[in-house]
């Protein structure tokens, strides 16, 4: 609020871009070119074949890594919530890995699974899966006990209990985990590819910084940021819809 008027959120971005432009125009540092030239560079690199090849391979690694972490993370989280002993044994490890610097493991991964797309996929997986496990577990654990009792009293089989009550009941937490996981996943792609350095967006980053193409470099940074933001916002939108249904919890 300023002078009684509501200011749109993007206004703060606009101010930052103006500051950036001024610093760039002043030529204080070769690392920071003017924002307008970064945008121009972005417009020129996006249609190139090199960019679309890098983008598609990065997207593929991201998608496969995320799919894997969902396919493994959700069942694990559910199991850990339902089987007390399993939750206790694995809970500690999940908590360690969720806060561990996974990037440090990437060089080891390269040695194990080779230098290539697989390493990047595994990196995305490791970045995303633990927070998904953690949140799913919390969601299922917090599932309304009386809903479980209700389903049982109406003769729910074990599989129905999971598909018709527990998973749906935990959906808000699962989606929150997915959103955090996806944000980490984007980091995973970039870090994985940077360390592997011969594929995807990471290769481009490597290339631009080697030849000191700062305009292109910053343009790519902004594109990656925008992608991460778009993914997170899309999931947040889903979350809001689910919250609406689950608001009575």
């Amino acid at each position: 609020m300023l002078f009684g008027k509501k200011i749109p959120i993007f206004f703060s971005l606009v101010i930052w871009f103006i500051v950036w432009e001024l610093i760039g125009q002043a030529g204080l540092s070769t690392i920071i070119p003017p924002f307008s030239r970064v945008v121009a560079a972005g417009i020129t690199i996006v249609p190139t074949e090199k960019f679309s090849a890098a983008a598609s391979i990065s997207l593929r690694s991201f998608a496969i890594g995320m799919a894997l972490s969902l396919a493994i993370g959700i069942p694990f989280g559910v199991l850990m919530a339902r089987v007390e002993s399993l939750g206790r044994i694995l809970g500690m490890w999940v908590n360690i890995f969720v806060s561990a610097p996974i990037s440090a493991l990437v060089p080891i991964l390269m040695a194990v699974v080779g230098i290539g797309e697989t390493t990047v996929v595994v990196t995305v997986f490791l970045f995303a899966v633990f927070v998904i496990i953690l949140d799913t577990r919390v969601g299922v654990k917090q599932a309304d006990r009386s809903l479980v009792e209700m389903a049982r009293s109406f003769g729910a089989r074990r599989d129905q209990l999971y598909t018709k009550v527990l998973i749906l009941s935990a959906l808000p937490e699962i989606l929150a985990g997915l959103r955090l996981g996806a944000i980490r996943g984007v980091k995973g792609v970039v870090i994985g590819q940077l360390l592997v350095a011969i594929i995807g967006v990471g290769e481009l980053f490597e290339l631009y910084s080697q030849y000191f193409l700062m305009e292109e470099f910053w343009a790519l940074v902004i594109i990656v940021f925008m992608f991460a933001l778009a993914v997170s916002e899309a999931i947040a939108f889903l979350e809001k819809r689910v919250e609406y249904y689950a608001s009575a919890r």
């Binding site: 309304d144 009386s146 049982r152 009293s153 109406f154 089989r157 018709k164 689910v242 249904y245 009575a248």
Partner: protein
């Protein structure tokens, strides 16, 4: 005329972790087609006993027989109405009412039809596509009751069903429940801590003593209800005597 027994508890006991004894040696015969109340102070294990009858909790000792069969778990002849309604927050009224049928694998069209009929009887036709959080407490419990009726169980187990609704709604519910019993051959087992509610509704009141819960007395109110309005019943001498009798016993349990 003595009705035949539909639910029987034989020496039912329940202890948690082998230490806390919630129920001890409960022996009960509940008549078919009648409303029986389990009444007692909080902590007397009345809800535990109801859940054991429902097959939701296994007893530590003794056994429960329903319609000549030993209870090993929940069964289609029993339906439960929950104190906190236990409605699926992500499902609308129609799906909530049909949920018991959905679990039994009844085709969607058929179960929707049955559910719609129950919703109409509960007076909620305009709210078929509403979600639980859009309903008042009273409406939620109507949905809970409609869900129990939709599966057409013989025995309806109600765990303090009217305790989370306001007094007016509560009285209206009581009327409707009595009305329902007059028209349908249902056996109702009703848990409450309200003496008036128990005396007003019940054909048989099972008084439980606290810690460990055990049957302290069984009372058959014998109140003439046919053709009388609620206020007349509440002034009935039998009704007042029963309330007094229960109070004389219960007040010893109040610390």
């Amino acid at each position: 005329m003595p009705a035949e027994t539909i639910v029987e508890a034989r020496g039912v006991g329940k202890s948690y972790d082998g230490a806390v004894e919630a129920l001890k040696d409960v022996n009960l015969m509940l008549p078919h087609g009648r409303l029986s109340t389990l009444l007692g102070p909080s902590g007397c294990g009345k809800t535990t006993l109801l859940k054991i009858i429902a097959g939701l909790i296994p007893p530590s000792s003794g056994e429960v027989w329903v319609k000549g069969k030993k209870v090993e778990g929940p069964g289609p002849e029993r339906a439960f109405v929950f104190q906190d309604f236990a409605l699926l927050p992500w499902a609308n009224v129609l799906r909530n009412v049909a949920f018991g049928l959905e679990l039994r694998g009844i085709p969607k069209e058929q179960r929707s039809e049955i559910a719609r009929r129950q919703i109409a009887e509960a007076g909620l036709s305009d709210f078929e596509s509403s979600y639980p959080h859009q309903l008042s407490g009273g409406m939620k419990q109507r949905v809970g009751l409609a869900r129990a009726l939709a599966v057409d169980a013989d025995i309806i187990l109600m765990d303090e069903p009217f305790s989370s609704v306001d007094e007016q709604t509560r009285r209206k519910f009581q009327e409707e429940l009595l009305d329902l019993l007059r028209h349908k051959q249902k056996t109702v087992i009703f848990v409450t801590h309200s003496i008036e509610e128990a005396a007003y509704l019940s054909d048989q009141i099972v008084l439980l003593s606290p810690r460990p819960g055990t049957v302290s007395k069984i009372i058959q109110p014998n109140i003439e209800r046919a053709g009388r309005n609620p206020d007349e019943i509440r002034r009935d001498k039998n009704y007042l005597d029963v309330v007094e009798e229960i109070w004389q016993i219960l007040k010893h349990y109040v610390v």
